[in-house]
Point group: C3
């Protein structure tokens, strides 16, 4: 009975995570494709920027961890980016009205990608502080690659709390692990911390202090 | 007799591929060095941008496939980049007249690099669709790194058919493989598809549609 | 007796190298953080740019050599970057007066990172010419990543002798190795060559020739 219950719970979890994974990948790709459209990129360029935003962080993580790249064994992520491109081409004029939805989707993706990044890192036998860095990389590095490709100063270095939400989630993950909570709870707490931090930071315009330059 | 014939054919193929490899590497390096010169780079900077253009795509491919970097075991590629730098320094004033020659050389290189990228990927046991991506990366990612280093928006995201030629070549490679054609024919067909697509696209100014932004 | 002497000498060398490592990492991080401050980055962005400058070169080297990333097994480097950020926040107004000190620290770091990069490469069984490239990468690639992240044309491609100092150090390393000098001497000679080249080049404004563009 226990085993059966576990399998059912596991199956349900997989499906749920798959849905979140789709939502997150889709939202990340949309954010890249929309910015590419402001620079008059063609469809190919937009697709590449979308893919870089969606899978760039995880790719850097996997290269740094020296494990096989996650998207090479599952066409899901690149198909998802293709659907995002189609979506932008077709619903271009309505995207602005979907702003809030995509913000929530993006925050959900950020939460999932952070948890996945930390979990994968500790499974490689690396310490938790490396996990926090890799979780943040998984969540936020795609946006940095996106901004480098469209030749802009990376947004997350100047605006709002974005990567910091991943770091706070990572700290929650670390605390939960150190006090011995079960993985499922640890993952949920970490993801919730990322999501809530991100939403609260945007709602109340919470920013990190700007580093003042020497002339100021 | 058969074995001898095969060896002769193989020997001839190697030499032929070496020549194409030189032409392609040289043309890619020249393209990087020329763009570096428009930004007042010094000789070192120009060399680095030339090398990044010539070997950057293959380097990313090898890192992603987790195989030893191709240029570390053969100084050929970096010597070739050095010759390209010398060429630009000496024949600077005549480069504009060699425009057509270098365009053809570049297209030849693009074709070879695509075939090599796909072949190397499937030899790693990865599926053909990853091969198409890695072939395109091998051919086109060097140009993206070049444009990031000179702080410009990557050209191939906005102009003409470039990376799309690699993708079309990759589709031809896939079709040939699936219908069971011999490798030599598959490689030639793939390379020809890349070369012809590129030349035709430039001759008839064929572009992908630009992604319109939300304000348009 | 000999063994004891060796251990003492080795212990002293470790400590000395640790100090230089700290000085170099600190100076590299400071250079990244200061440039980030001119672009109104927040504290997180400044930290990331500082870390990329300090450990980016070694990270690319380790990825290319396919060895575990050096900073993942020792929090020293990221703590050091944090101290550099604190330093800039607190002593912002006095940084300009410390200009000469940081220049010397930076040159010391450049020398050490070059030696470490070459040594690590030949320990991977790669030839010395790859070592020179990896040594230069270790010393100079962090600065390139820094400039890409703040969306500027990489400084080392246009100004003064910087990466060339690493290459000259690498040539000295190669010559010393080929004539069979002991490792300790080889390392010192290589480091000294990098440091002296860098200091002399800045003192006497020695530059590489700029590559003239076709219109000139």
């Amino acid at each position: 009975m226990d085993t059966i219950n576990e399998i059912i719970r596991w199956g349900a979890a997989i499906t749920f995570i798959d849905i979140i994974d789709f939502i997150g990948t889709f939202a990340f790709a949309i954010s890249g494709i929309r910015l590419a459209s402001t620079k008059q990129f063609d469809w190919f360029g937009a697709y590449v920027v979308g893919a870089a935003t969606a899978i760039g962080g995880g790719t850097i993580r996997d290269i740094m961890l020296d494990v096989p790249l996650f998207w090479m064994h599952d066409p899901f992520y690149l198909i998802c980016t293709g659907l995002a491109l189609l979506w932008v081409i077709i619903f271009r004029k309505y995207l602005i009205r979907m702003h809030y939805t995509f913000f929530v989707f993006d925050a959900v993706g950020l939460a999932l990608f952070t948890v996945v990044g930390i979990q994968k890192t500790i499974e490689c036998g690396l310490p938790l502080w490396v996990g926090i860095i890799m979780g943040t990389m998984t969540g936020a590095a795609g946006g940095v690659i996106r901004d480098v490709l469209i030749n802009e100063v990376p947004l997350i270095f100047r605006k709002e709390i974005y990567a910091m939400a991943c770091i706070i989630g990572g700290v929650v993950f670390t605390v939960c692990t150190l006090i011995g909570l079960p993985p499922l709870f640890t993952h949920l707490a970490c993801g919730a911390a990322v999501f809530i931090t991100r939403v609260v930071a945007v709602k109340y315009h919470i920013c990190l202090p700007t580093l003042r330059s020497e002339e100021d």
